[in-house]
């Protein structure tokens, strides 16, 4: 009997098949944009009204053409971050008094906030305010908080707060590092709590 040679499998078209698969996956999948600004909404049941001194509130209004009014004055979006930093970092309570802020570096004006724990930023919008403008304001306020938190974290731990937070949130970070970071993050957040409040003008 004649010995038959089995024909070799031709691998030349393999590349084409793989290319087809590749193009299929490129078309049907997308790289997700999964980053943004985190917020906690207030609970539905209204808490008993807090009595807050007017000097501890920074009032920001955004109108329907995305113009800003801060404490009854027209300001540009570019100035907002510095205004917020000056307000939060003011530390107006005199030394020796309850609520004196020993880590603040502000101007310590009497008519501005007592300390960062008391200071509240109140953002009011109208229904026609654009979402983009609102996000810009929120972004500036978070930037102001991050600036102050970074400064304090640098002084205490020699590290940036945002850096520590990114490492902490990374799921690949080992647990023992996260545990030590958690303490530091809590401490900084305790010094500059994110007191953002919102209201709608009817």
């Amino acid at each position: 009997m004649a010995k038959r040679l089995s024909p070799g499998v031709h691998a030349g078209s393999m590349a084409d098949i793989a290319f087809l698969l590749l193009i299929f996956f490129l078309v049907t999948t997308s790289i997700e944009t999964d980053a943004g600004l985190d917020r906690m909404l207030p609970r539905m049941e209204t808490p008993p009204p807090l009595i807050i001194n007017e000097r501890n509130i920074l009032r920001i209004s955004i109108n329907d053409s995305d113009e800003l009014l801060v404490e009854e004055e027209r300001v540009d979006m570019g100035e907002l971050r510095d205004i917020a930093i000056a307000f939060l970092d003011n530390g107006g309570a005199p030394p020796g008094n309850k609520g004196h802020c020993n880590y603040c570096e502000g101007l310590r004006k009497q008519e501005s906030s007592d300390n960062p724990l008391e200071a509240v930023v109140l953002v009011t919008t109208v229904r026609a305010t654009s979402y983009g403008g609102y996000i810009t304001v929120q972004n500036e306020l978070v930037a102001a908080y991050n600036h102050l938190r970074n400064r304090e974290a640098q002084r205490r731990f020699g590290e940036d707060f945002t850096e520590m937070q990114a490492v902490y949130l990374n799921p690949e970070t080992p647990e023992y590092i996260r545990a030590s970071l958690r303490e530091k993050i809590r401490e900084i957040q305790g010094l500059f709590p994110l007191n953002l409040s919102e209201a709608e003008i009817k």
């Binding site: 691998a11 030349g12 393999m14 590349a15 098949i17 793989a18 290319f19 698969l21 590749l22 996956f25 490129l26 049907t28 999948t29 997308s30 790289i31 997700e32 944009t33 999964d34 980053a35 943004g36 600004l37 985190d38 917020r39 906690m40 909404l41 207030p42 609970r43 539905m44 995305d66 979006m77 570019g78 919008t125 109208v126 229904r127 026609a128 305010t129 654009s130 979402y131 983009g132 403008g133 609102y134 996000i135 810009t136 929120q138 972004n139 500036e140 978070v142 930037a143 991050n146 945002t162 937070q165 990114a166 949130l169 799921p171 709608e200």
Partner: protein, 160 residues
């Protein structure tokens, strides 16, 4: 002279393409691992706003997406051009946002239900009105952890 010419005519060796499939497969696996399947068909168009101080959203199975924007051309003839809410392939009325989100949360294993984040993917030209309404609905069902999903970039670009 003729002989000399002939000597120079050496054959260029052919490039072997045997490893080409391997290279393409490597590319394929790379894309398969870094991308995710489009889970839902978008029926609204949106351009997200930019922000610079963003935080990454943690695990995708703990996120519920709410899309708000103008309906796509297909639907614009029926629904008009006002901003609409889409959750999971469907247009949803404002009053149904709460029940829908609750249903989504109930589908998840019990252990991760308290950690669910609602990601709002909203067109930057949409008004705040619809967002205030949606937020109010979310407060009613006690889903308080939200995320305004944005692109990373210059926030001042939102104002144009």
């Amino acid at each position: 002279m003729i002989r000399f010419k002939r000597e120079k005519e050496t054959d260029v060796p052919e490039i072997s393409t045997a490893s080409l499939p391997d290279i393409v497969f490597m590319l394929l696996f790379f894309f398969m691992t870094v991308t995710v399947m489009k889970s839902e068909k978008l029926k609204v168009n949106y351009v997200l706003p930019n922000a610079s101080e963003v935080k990454k959203l943690e695990k995708p199975d703990r996120v519920i997406y709410i899309h708000i924007g103008k309906p796509t051309l297909e639907y614009a003839t029926i629904l008009g051009s006002g901003p609409r809410i889409q959750i999971n392939d469907k247009f949803v009325d404002l009053s149904d946002v709460g029940p829908y989100v609750l249903g989504q949360i109930a589908d998840k294993p019990e252990a991760i239900r308290p950690f669910m984040t609602i990601a709002l993917k909203v067109d930057k030209h949409a008004g705040m009105g619809i967002i205030l309404d949606v937020r109010q609905e979310l407060r009613k069902i006690n889903a308080l952890k939200i995320n305004y999903t944005t692109y990373e970039g210059d926030a001042y670009a939102n104002l144009e």
